[in-house]
């Protein structure tokens, strides 16, 4: 099977500090991957290794099936045919937009270069700004130019290092979707680095959750949300609480909110104590239900309310309810569970 990018058992770091530990992942042509993790987890280091700015201590990186990094060898960045979009965009302030976009096209004859510049400006929707200087553009515009500049030489892989973190929050998801459609249009293979799950969901086909230099889980946004394989992933992606439960048989556990039956085999003996992940959308507000809880806090989200509820045992859960169900603090409301994906963790030692 051919892959466009193959990272194998990558170790890397700065000076004497090892940052990455056995990182492996692979992208097919046209696939958009995302490295998602909290700040300082090493995700940018992976990107800088792929780009060739940092050497690999161990392991290998293959771009288009050719080895570019290993313990003994590092192909210089300028020979890797990669494109990169930086957090601060790094547009050259002394050059006009068209010259920024054409910066990586120095090998082309003038006419071809011009037409590629025009083409790229059209793709990012900024044909009118060819003559402008970077400082005359807004943040979102600068970012599009940075994208156009990186894509102009038709890189094998595009690397995006927190490309939206300098943007207004409202703009981020919209831009992420825009960038995705541009990348898909050109059938680019890309790696995005971000700490924002919404950006990752909006852009990526494949998401790798990284923490402390290791990949914890890899999959689609849907999988990561509904089938987290660790407490860290469960906590980092989406909201939710972990409540105690007792295993009843190979597919069912009993909780304070009632029995839950999952579609997979539980890896614990009946009668043992486990923890179960409950997402806010797993808890349905239903006045007819036997189970009830007291509203401790609530947050209005426009289309819905996020309720923080305390059950009689003192265990707290969250509940996402449609916004016309407006209840007061301290009011008792009926709830029931509606859960398809049973996520179970061994009971934490500390309790």
């Amino acid at each position: 099977m051919t892959s466009q990018l193959d990272v194998v058992d990558l170790d890397a770091g700065y000076d004497d500090l090892q940052v990455l530990n056995q990182v492996s992942f692979r992208l097919q042509p046209g696939e958009i991957g995302c490295l998602l993790g909290p700040s300082g987890c090493g995700k940018s280091t992976v990107l800088r290794c792929i780009a060739g700015f940092e050497p690999a201590w161990n392991g290998h990186i293959f771009i288009d099936n050719a080895e570019v990094s290993s313990r003994r060898y590092s192909l210089p960045p300028e020979q890797r045919n990669i494109g990169m979009v930086f957090q601060d965009f790094a547009l050259f302030p002394h050059l006009r937009v068209e010259d920024n976009v054409g910066f990586g096209l120095k090998h082309l004859p003038r006419r071809e270069r011009q037409s590629r510049i025009q083409e790229m400006l059209a793709i990012v929707g900024m044909p009118a700004y060819a003559q402008a200087y970077p400082h005359q553009l807004s943040g979102g515009q600068q970012q599009r130019i940075a994208l156009a500049r990186a894509l102009a030489p038709r890189p094998t892989i595009l690397l995006l290092d927190e490309p939206f973190s300098n943007m207004d929050v409202e703009l981020r998801e919209q831009l992420a979707r825009e960038v995705r459609s541009i990348l898909k249009q050109e059938n680019n293979t890309a790696v995005l680095v971000t700490h924002d799950q919404n950006e990752a969901f909006a852009m990526a086909d494949q998401i790798c959750v990284i923490n402390e230099g290791s990949i914890l889980q890899q999959g689609s946004g849907y999988d990561l949300y509904h089938q987290p394989n660790s407490r860290f992933v469960a906590d980092f992606i989406g909201q939710g609480v972990i409540i105690p439960a007792t295993v009843e048989d190979s597919t069912t556990v009993k909780t304070e909110l009632g029995r839950i039956t999952g579609d997979s085999i539980i890896d614990a003996a009946p009668g043992s104590l486990v923890d179960v992940l409950i997402r806010p959308d797993d808890v349905i507000h239903d006045d007819a239900s036997e189970e009830s809880a007291i509203v401790v806090e609530k947050a209005f989200r426009g289309a819905n309310f996020l309720y923080f509820l305390r059950m009689d045992s003192g265990v707290e859960v969250m509940c996402l309810a449609p916004s016309h169900h407006n209840h007061r603090i301290n009011e008792r409301i009926g709830i029931r569970l509606d859960l398809d994906h049973l996520v179970i963790f061994a009971r934490a030692e500390a309790g």
Binding site: A51, F53, Y73, P76, E78, M84, Q87, D88, F92, H107
Partner: protein, 558 residues
């Protein structure tokens, strides 16, 4: 864990091929150019000799008192004019405000000694002002009181007139940087326009004002040309007298070390204030500052308050110099004057080129090998600018003379050849002193330019298939052009104006415009010194205009 082979280097941090000699080179440059400073500082601990005891008994008290009076007087003067004008031009609206905003910097073009000659020529007994007064009134000699320019008070006035722009510049920048919110909040809390100035704007700007003040006072302490012309006994004139009058280098160096102590105090105050000025920046929201529109007599008072410093600090003395130059250029501008001018320009240009090359070497070195030792080395080099030219000269000549004597005795012992003073009286010594004093400016300028080229720009260019050499050519050079040029210009102008170090270290019979103006003025040929003086002022205007252009356009957040 990390037995990587050598050919794998971190591409981003090492833009240029790693040169083995670069890092030691940085240390060498730092040691070399801080040698004079350490020489002088070492004299603080030097045991006292008879002459030092004599100085202590007789003149040291006077030096201290006069320097203190000078510093206090200039401090008050520059503070009042600098802060006042800065407030008016940044937060008020009145006729001529736009012009004043940059024109108020123009007095910076006048070196202290030149404005001193000009005012002396205008206001002393034989000058046009007193002559006119006598003619109109019929008074004779001693019939009337007229303030003596050549006095401590005169010196305070002269220094104030040319140094207030330092306070003005930094205070204005601080006022403009203050966030609108802070000022508006104070208004909503019931402060009037004026009380929000005293209670909010002024305290917020205080660190910047203190920084500007320290710069002005450093210049005051460093001056030799004016105080020697006025015959004032302060440290710089004392160092000259001790060295050339009493012939005692050690005592002169000890005096210099005490002066250095005061200067370092100012440097520390200045750095500390600048640091605080950053913390005082609480909000990042800027919009058009509220402007208080002044009307009627208030507008005219503001106009006058800005006009007077500009008039007395620049227009009047520049006009007088021009008049004199027109009267005297026929016999002053001859082949020797042109040779002199060329001499000055060549000297200043070569010093500036050297300063820029060294600065590029240091600044790129710092970017490549970040580390505390490299940073410390560059910081040591950067203190040179605060050190008075007189002190630098003494600090340069002592180690060079030691070196010359060693070489001479070794050569005589082994080859029976006397090499004499190999370096001390040479252009090398002069150039060395200029680097000690002015390298700081070029380093600062180049570093700020390089700081704007973020690491990600290098990375971006490499990801677009550019080699390091191509990046230097296509990205760094165009971006650095302006700062390198600025660094060159400022060093060039400073060398043109420099007097005391040149006076002490120049080779025999080697003259510059500044030295010539000083000599002619010393011979009471004030009008004759005007052509040289005018050229120095004209050259000095170049960086001032550069500065004023940036002041006119720069405003955070807009």
């Amino acid at each position: 864990m990390r037995d990587r082979v050598d050919d794998v280097t971190r591409a981003s941090a090492r833009l240029l091929p790693q040169l083995q000699l670069w890092r030691p080179g940085i240390f060498l440059v730092a040691i070399l150019f801080s040698l004079p400073i350490f020489t002088i500082v070492s004299f603080l601990l030097h045991p006292a000799n008879d002459i030092w005891q004599h100085l202590l008994d007789t003149v040291l008290g006077e030096y201290l008192l006069n320097s203190a009076l000078l510093v206090v007087g200039v401090g008050i003067g520059t503070l009042v004019i600098g802060v006042g004008c800065a407030w008016l031009t940044s937060l008020c609206v009145f006729p001529g405000k736009r012009l004043f905003a940059w024109a108020l910097l123009m007095p910076l073009a006048f070196p202290g000694y030149i404005i001193a000659y000009t005012y002396t020529g205008m206001f002393d007994f034989a000058g046009p002002v007193q002559s006119l007064l006598r003619e109109l009134s019929g008074w004779g000699f001693r019939d009337y009181y007229f303030p003596e320019i050549r006095s401590l008070g005169g010196a305070i006035t002269m220094f104030t007139l040319v140094l207030y722009p330092y306070v003005y510049l930094l205070a204005r920048a601080a006022f403009l940087e203050q966030s609108v919110c802070v000022l508006e909040v104070s208004r909503t809390l019931g402060c009037s326009v004026w009380s929000s100035f005293y209670r909010v704007a002024l305290p917020l700007a205080r660190p910047a004002i203190v920084a500007g003040l320290s710069l002005a006072l450093m210049e005051t302490l460093a001056d030799y040309g004016m105080v020697s012309f006025f015959g004032l006994s302060v440290f710089t004139t004392g160092i000259f007298r001790t060295w050339f009058g009493l012939g005692d280098a050690a005592a002169a160096a000890k005096l210099a070390s005490i002066l250095l102590l005061f200067v370092f105090t100012l440097v520390v105050i200045e750095r500390w204030s600048r640091k605080r000025a950053q913390y005082h920046h609480s909000s990042n929201r800027y919009s058009v500052l509220p402007q208080y529109r002044l009307r009627g007599y208030r507008a005219w008072l503001a106009f006058l308050a800005c006009l007077l410093p500009l008039f007395f600090g620049f227009v009047l003395p520049a006009g007088q110099l021009t008049v004199w130059a027109l009267q005297t250029y026929r016999h002053m501008v001859d082949a020797s004057f042109l040779a002199l001018t060329l001499n000055s320009i060549l000297l200043a240009a070569s010093a500036a080129v050297l300063a820029v090359v060294l600065a590029l070497f240091l600044a790129y070195g710092k970017r490549q090998f970040r580390g505390p030792l490299v940073t410390a080395s560059i910081r040591v080099v950067a203190t040179g600018y605060a050190i008075p030219g007189t002190v630098v000269a003494v600090g340069v000549i002592i180690p060079l003379a030691w070196f010359d004597n060693r070489v001479d005795s070794w050569m005589s012992d082994h080859f029976d050849v006397s090499t004499g003073l190999l370096l001390s009286g040479s252009l090398f010594a002069l150039m060395f002193a200029y680097m000690v004093r002015f390298l700081a400016i070029s380093v600062q300028s180049v570093e700020s330019g390089l700081g704007k080229i973020r690491q990600s720009m290098d990375d971006a260019a490499r990801s677009l298939a550019y080699t390091p050499a191509q990046i230097l050519l296509r990205v760094h050079m165009p971006l650095m052009k302006a700062t390198v040029l600025t660094a060159f210009l400022i060093v060039f102008v400073d060398v043109m104006k420099e007097l005391p170090a040149t006076l002490i270290l120049r080779p025999f019979d080697f003259n510059t415009l500044a030295v010539r103006a000083f000599e002619l003025a010393g011979d009471e040929r004030l009008a004759d010194s005007s052509t040289a003086a005018l050229m120095i002022v004209a050259v000095g205007l170049v960086p001032v205009l550069l500065l004023s252009r940036s002041i006119a356009t720069a405003r955070a957040g807009s």
